[in-house]
């Protein structure tokens, strides 16, 4: 270390400004004027010469020697300390000839990003590894839905006056809040936006980030629960083509839909307002200057109420970005759905009572002619294999802030698309599963029990279907079955990473890979066994001349699905398989129908309006249907 005179003075500058220097000086004066016996060197000297301390202290030369030793010792100590503390003279150093020569002859290129530095930043500064200990996805299965062909309005209830029926139904079906789990219709049971552990870890991470970005004042424990109640809505609108053929001792029925299906995320206005308020609070400090400027502009430009102007301005500055909504928050498709075939054989056929047994099949004809009409289709959103945190940081520190932001934004939007792929992408039928089952149908007139004329016009019909859906392959999303210990801080050896770049890179790659896997679930070809679907429908009809009124109650249940083989890759970690299985679902509904029939010599027409609504559901959303039906019996 170079001890220079001016550096010595710099030391004293600091030294004399602090109390320590006063104490030191007092101590030295004490040493001069009074005896002391605390210095080791003196002790050593005394021992060696056999002279007492008191006698030594009377020796002026020795006193001076001690004083100088102490002064120099302190100088060395404090100069060393002061170099770290900031007694560095930038301007003086700038004018140093050696430095100048070095600056003149060197082109300073930006240093390549060191994996060890990023690892330290992520693990030891931001504690990002703790975020990876829990899965963001609570579940990864596609949401339970009921096939449109299962709506009771399309079932063959008709009385066959003639041999054939052709029907065309215009239908609208809406599920206002689909169920993400057995009992919950909010996204919190699908994405861990309310997990206290994850949110606390995120809060800790943000707290660490706040050291660099103090304005990044987001409290995840407050903000994220606001998203807990996000729902998924589904709408289906289209035409159902129906055909019936009567033959000796039985009948054949087929119906197949052509429809448009749309799914979107949904929040109530209050929920949206709360989120906007929360984000306004977060963004307020940053935009304070701009806002004050806007307010003054508004005051200058108009004499009307300023607050109103500002309010309008805020609303205008935050319009709903429809392009964004269509690209990431809506999924839709148009095509044909599964075909349903019923074949009944009459077992009992009396005037007051009929009973039929039949076979039922669901043919997986569902096919989308077009995906992403108003919204998008997320099937092609894939994992960003080339995404790297090091790359983002490298871009940011190289001054390419926009490129870094674009990389981060693409990653985040990709993660959103993955959620949308799970929740909004859905087929038009039950998937590649052939349904085969048996059906039982009865019809009885009330006059069979009550012997009154009016009772002859009241009929009771019931039908039960039990279908087994054959196994088939589907692409399913999976997340890792995590062991939190793998992500603990002790898995990242700071000292080793500083010395071993290969180790540092390997650990950084690990965090990078796990971060991608956290937000981008594995999509694996899976053998899915949907199990059984049972449906029981009862109807009460009142017929009067050309009019018919019908009340319907329907019960629908689907068993929990199971998996066969899962096509994993060699580097696929242990998977949380149970999170990918659709749970069982039950739904009960009530409906009503009004129909009018008129007869012509060669054919008869029936026009009907049907509506139903779900009053109880578990594991599946509560939907309602409106069907306008027209059929010709010829």
């Amino acid at each position: 270390m170079l001890l220079r005179f001016d550096t010595l003075f710099l030391f004293y500058n600091e030294l004399c400004e602090c109390i320590l220097s006063v104490c030191l000086k007092l101590f030295i004066l004490q040493l001069i004027y009074h005896d002391t016996h605390t210095f080791v060197i003196m002790h050593y000297h005394c021992k060696k010469t056999g002279i007492g301390y008191m006698k030594h202290m009377k020796n002026l030369k020795l006193r001076c020697f001690f004083l100088l030793m102490l002064t120099c010792g302190c100088c060395v100590f404090f100069i060393k300390a002061s170099e770290d503390a900031g007694n560095f003279d930038f301007l003086n150093n700038l004018n140093d000839p050696d430095t100048e020569a070095f600056l003149d002859n060197t082109h300073f290129q930006n240093r390549a990003v060191n994996p060890d530095d990023i690892l330290q930043l992520l693990v030891f500064t931001l504690k990002a590894n703790c975020l990876l200990q829990d899965n963001l996805y609570v579940n990864t299965y596609p949401l339970n839905k009921k096939n449109i062909i299962d709506v009771p309005a399309f079932f063959p209830y008709r009385e066959y006056g003639r041999n054939r029926i052709f029907g065309l139904s215009l239908f609208f079906n809406q599920t206002s809040r689909m169920y993400f789990s057995e009992h919950c219709d909010g996204i919190q049971s699908y994405i861990a936006v309310c997990s206290p552990t994850l949110m606390q870890r995120l809060a800790d991470c943000i707290e660490c980030a706040r050291a660099i970005y103090p304005q990044f004042d987001i409290d995840p424990l407050t903000i994220f629960p606001l998203f807990a109640n996000i729902a998924v809505q589904e709408r289906q609108v289209g035409l159902m083509f129906r055909g019936d053929k009567k033959f000796d001792g039985g009948s054949l029925h087929i119906h197949i839909p052509l429809f448009y299906q749309e799914r979107n995320y949904y929040m109530t206005q209050q929920e949206r307002d709360r989120i906007e308020e929360a984000f306004d609070d977060v963004l307020e400090p940053a935009s304070q200057c701009d806002t004050s400027q806007e307010v003054s502009d508004a005051e200058n430009s108009s004499c009307t109420d300023t607050s109103e102007n500002v309010g309008m301005h805020v609303n205008k500055s935050n319009p709903v970005d429809m392009a964004f909504v269509q690209s990431h928050l809506i999924g839709d498709s148009f095509g044909i759905g599964d075909a349903r075939i019923h074949c009944y054989f009459d077992l009992i056929k009396r005037q007051y009572y009929k009973m039929s047994l039949g076979l039922v099949a669901t043919i997986p004809t569902a096919f989308a002619f077009k995906k992403g009409l108003l919204g998008s289709w997320y099937e092609n959103s894939c994992t960003p294999r080339d995404f790297s945190i090091a790359n983002v940081i490298d871009q940011a520190r190289s001054g390419k802030a926009e490129a870094a932001t674009a990389l981060g934004q693409a990653f985040a939007l990709g993660a959103l698309d993955q959620i949308s792929r799970n929740l909004l992408d859905t087929g038009l039928g039950y998937g590649n599963h052939l349904g085969i089952g048996a059906s039982y149908k009865t019809m009885g007139r009330l006059s069979f029990i009550i012997k009154r004329p009016w009772a002859h016009y009241v009929k009771m019909k019931s039908r039960m279907i039990l279908q087994y859906y054959t196994p088939g392959t589907e692409m399913r999303a999976f997340v890792e079955n995590k062991n939190p210990a793998d992500y603990a801080e002790d898995q990242f050896d700071l000292d080793r990473s500083a010395q071993d770049p290969v180790y540092a890179q390997e650990r950084l790659d690990f965090i990078n890979r796990k971060m991608i896997e956290e937000l981008y679930p594995f999509r694996l070809r899976t053998m899915v066994r949907p199990g059984f679907i049972f449906q029981s429908t009862s109807g009460y009809y009142f017929e009067a001349k050309n009019w018919k009124v019908q009340l319907v109650s329907d019960f629908w249940a689907r068993s929990e699905e199971s998996f066969g083989s899962i096509c994993t890759l060699p580097d696929t970690p242990p998977l949380a398989v149970s999170c990918a299985k659709r749970p069982a679902a039950i739904q009960s509904r009530l409906g009503a129908c009004v129909a009018y029939s008129f007869t012509r010599p060669t054919h008869s027409w029936t026009v009907s309006l049907y509506g139903d609504t779900t009053y109880w559901a578990q594991g599946i959303g509560k939907d309602f249907n409106i069907v306008f039906n027209m059929e010709c019996n010829f």
């Binding site: 003075f9 710099l10 030391f11 004293y12 500058n13 030294l15 004399c16 400004e17 030191l24 000086k25 030295i28 004066l29 001069i32 002026l60 006193r63 004083l67 002064t71 170099e83 770290d84 503390a85 900031g86 007694n87 560095f88 930038f90 301007l91 003086n92 150093n93 700038l94 004018n95 050696d98 430095t99 100048e100 070095f102 600056l103 060197t106 300073f108 290129q109 930006n110 240093r111 390549a112 060191n114 530095d117 990023i118 930043l121 500064t125 050291a211 660099i212 970005y213 103090p214 304005q215 701009d290 940081i393 490298d394 871009q395 940011a396 520190r397 190289s398 001054g399 390419k400 802030a401």
Partner: protein, 229 residues
């Protein structure tokens, strides 16, 4: 004699008190941010310190004149003389004063001088932009932390209304903000002082990055010495 030597020692210990007022004041910036970026490849490292030194040197050359063996010499010619920002600022003030008391005959000369100064200011601002643009490119990626550090530097240096703050916090183009704010040589001089002070504070606070820079310098010197031999 018995009391003279100790008294001399006391004097020796006390003399720094007299020196203290002249010592350059060094500001240590926010330790939380510095701890994260100091010596890191994504933050402030040896090469960046070198680049900062170069920028500070170039700005000082503009502000005070280029260093030569005979002292500092202004880099810009104005009315036949070599000038730096500081001397031009003095000239500008003198011209403003002269304009206030000028007669009609003198006024046109003063106005001509002001126009010429304005033209030179524009040119020097362009040169300044060329010097700082590489640093700005890198700083743009960490705008918020950099703004905090600048804010801390100017506050601790008792200059909270520094134009440097507006410059660092400009949401659009820093150069445009600089162009808007710096309208005279006096302001330009003030701006350069603040910027060099900040760069000094930044480098002073980053001891690890400084050590990396010193290591680079040592390597260079060693190589130079080896080449000479």
């Amino acid at each position: 004699m018995c009391r003279t030597i100790p008294a001399m020692m006391v004097a020796l210990l006390s003399c720094p008190l007299m020196y203290s007022n002249e010592a350059p004041k060094v500001i240590t910036l926010c330790p939380d941010i510095i701890a994260i970026i100091d010596g890191k490849s994504f933050g402030i490292h040896g090469e960046l310190v070198g680049a900062v030194y170069k920028i500070a040197r170039d700005i000082q050359s503009m502000q005070l004149g280029k260093r030569t063996t005979s002292g500092r010499v202004g880099m810009y010619k104005f009315q036949g003389n070599a000038h730096c920002i500081k001397s031009l600022a003095a000239l500008e003030q003198a011209n403003i004063q002269a304009l206030k008391t000028a007669t009609d005959g003198q006024r046109s000369a003063c106005e001509k001088c002001a126009a010429e100064l304005d033209t030179l200011l524009k040119k020097m601002k362009q040169d300044f932009n060329t010097i700082v643009s590489p640093f700005l490119g890198q700083a743009r990626g960490a705008k918020e932390p950099m703004f905090m550090l600048i804010s801390e530097s100017v506050t601790k240096r008792n200059h909270p209304k520094s134009m440097l703050l507006d410059w660092a916090h400009s949401s659009d183009d820093e150069m445009a903000s600089f162009d808007r704010s710096v309208t005279s040589f006096t302001l330009f001089d003030e701006f350069c002082t603040d910027l060099v002070n900040f760069l000094g504070d930044l480098v002073s606070s980053c001891s690890k990055a400084r050590a990396q820079f010193e290591q680079l310098k040592e390597d260079y010197m060693r190589k130079q010495a080896a080449n000479k031999n």
